[in-house]
Symmetry: C2
Amino acid sequence: MRKGRVTLKDIAVKLNLSPSTVSRALNDHPAIGDSTKKAVKRLAEVLDYQPNPMALGLLQKKSHTIGVIVPEITSHFFSAIITGIQDVVGPTQYNIMICISNESFEEEVTLVKKLSRMRVDGILVSPASGTKSFEHFQNLQKNEIPVVVFDRDCPGLDSDKVLVDDYSGAYQAVEYLIHSGCKKIAHLGGPLNLSTTKHRMQGYLDALEKNNMPIRKEYIQHVQGFSHNDGLKPAKKLLNQTDVPDAIFAINDNIATSAMHIAKKNGLRIPEDISIVGFDDEPHSTYFSPSLSTVWQPVYSMGMLSARILLKRLKDNNVAKNFREEIFKPELVVRASSK
Amino acid sequence: MRKGRVTLKDIAVKLNLSPSTVSRALNDHPAIGDSTKKAVKRLAEVLDYQPNPMALGLLQKKSHTIGVIVPEITSHFFSAIITGIQDVVGPTQYNIMICISNESFEEEVTLVKKLSRMRVDGILVSPASGTKSFEHFQNLQKNEIPVVVFDRDCPGLDSDKVLVDDYSGAYQAVEYLIHSGCKKIAHLGGPLNLSTTKHRMQGYLDALEKNNMPIRKEYIQHVQGFSHNDGLKPAKKLLNQTDVPDAIFAINDNIATSAMHIAKKNGLRIPEDISIVGFDDEPHSTYFSPSLSTVWQPVYSMGMLSARILLKRLKDNNVAKNFREEIFKPELVVRASSK
DNA sequence: TTGTAAGCGTTATCAA
DNA sequence: TTGATAACGCTTACAA
């Protein structure tokens, strides 16, 4: 009695009832008398009864837990998505297990296995930049664990998806640079196999082409990761050539700051000599000098929608086989780092 | 058979064994024959058997889950701590459930209840800035859930603690400002009831006093939250008075950037007219212009140690009643925002 | 309106 | 060396 938590049985004994009656009373079963219901609920309250989720889970073959796999949490981008997810899932019966893959395919696979072993009811995932194959996600689906992919697409994977029109965001940014008079627009692209990298790159290329601007290979560099340091070397390559670009469209805000750093170091004035545009609209980007022009994405909404789609699927017992694909529109935000 | 996951029983049936034998074989019980062990393990491998953690949890009254409560995850500070925790806990049998209180006492209480209901085996927590009472943590302890507090102290709460010598960090920073010739050193403090706020403030006050500098009330302002925007108003109050400070020691890097922002706007040169020092050493602080002087904290180590202490306690069945209190030393990092 | 009993998947105890 | 059984806490037919 002193040991361990209060159980249904404890309440049953104290009230001279059977555990099943207590269970039904707490679950507002119609066949239970009002007086017993009240008595049970009162005692449960007093004893601070908390149903054991493991017993429930075992019985219902559900963990009531949703796994969330993100590449990292330091950026506002992913942490805002997580906030969106939490705000939707929080009020429900589900718990969230946040896992960080550190942009590593291997860690992602490990996490997926772990979550699968845990019997999570569903998974929200934005794949690592190193992720090229999606077997691990398909294994989840084989185990009837629904997967919702967000932000970074997994081409070929049949699942619900909540994405951003990266192509449009990039196109907007580059077309704006063109219209502002830039003639030599460079691109600092992301890790090569990411869908976001590809789509933004395509937006960049198409914007140039549609505006009859030449595509110059030496104006395209790719970073290996998304942190400031990852951008320094590629930015140097871009800015240390004889025919210096007069604009850089960067894969994200961090990399844009790498470009700003190198540009300043090389004595270039921003935006007079070179315009710089990022992607993501990280909060602190506003406070750099000059403040960074960038492409905003509806991150919070993405998180919420991803969670809602998963919850709906769980509610419907994962029967619907028609997967949803939702695509959000990003928006260019012009600040002081561009003309 | 087709439905649901592979269980011990499935394996047992296929091999004409009893479930208990299979269980023992998988757990390398000495009394099981080598040949059966091999057969069982092989089949388990083939069938991709994954033990059901809920069954185990029910039996052992353990969830094998550790709850982590942090006020936010956007700062490098907390996300690095989380990384430290993950790196220690990841290789063990335990899972981590990361929860974000959004600096709100109410949300923190809700999270604690949720984790308690979940039967987490232990909790690592850094309290919200709104948290003044610690009953919710004491309730956990009553339920024999060990609590390790990190970074932000809970005065009066008996538990393991992993803290930083904020006093020393602040003292170092302010004394350095004094030695560099600043005469009018202001402080942008944090939310009032946080231990970190108090200790850094005391370090600031003592450094002034020990160096025979006057303490001027009008040079002390407090922010309500830790984001850039929270710092703008207090920074204005500090910098829009007639006798403008020639140095600001800010509670963290975000707030320091608020001060930088207002200082620049007011036409002050940094560091010629005013020195600014932050706290936390956020990675992007290096890339502001001028790069920010700040106080570094061993965040990753803090996360690792907190996790290790909790794991140790779990291993020892939470018997030891002598709580550990570990205090890390922070270090001043001088960059370009100060003389 | 309430109680009984079975079962979810696993391990530990006892017996064989 | 292995098997049968009970137990963990809960829900749900089925019975009363």
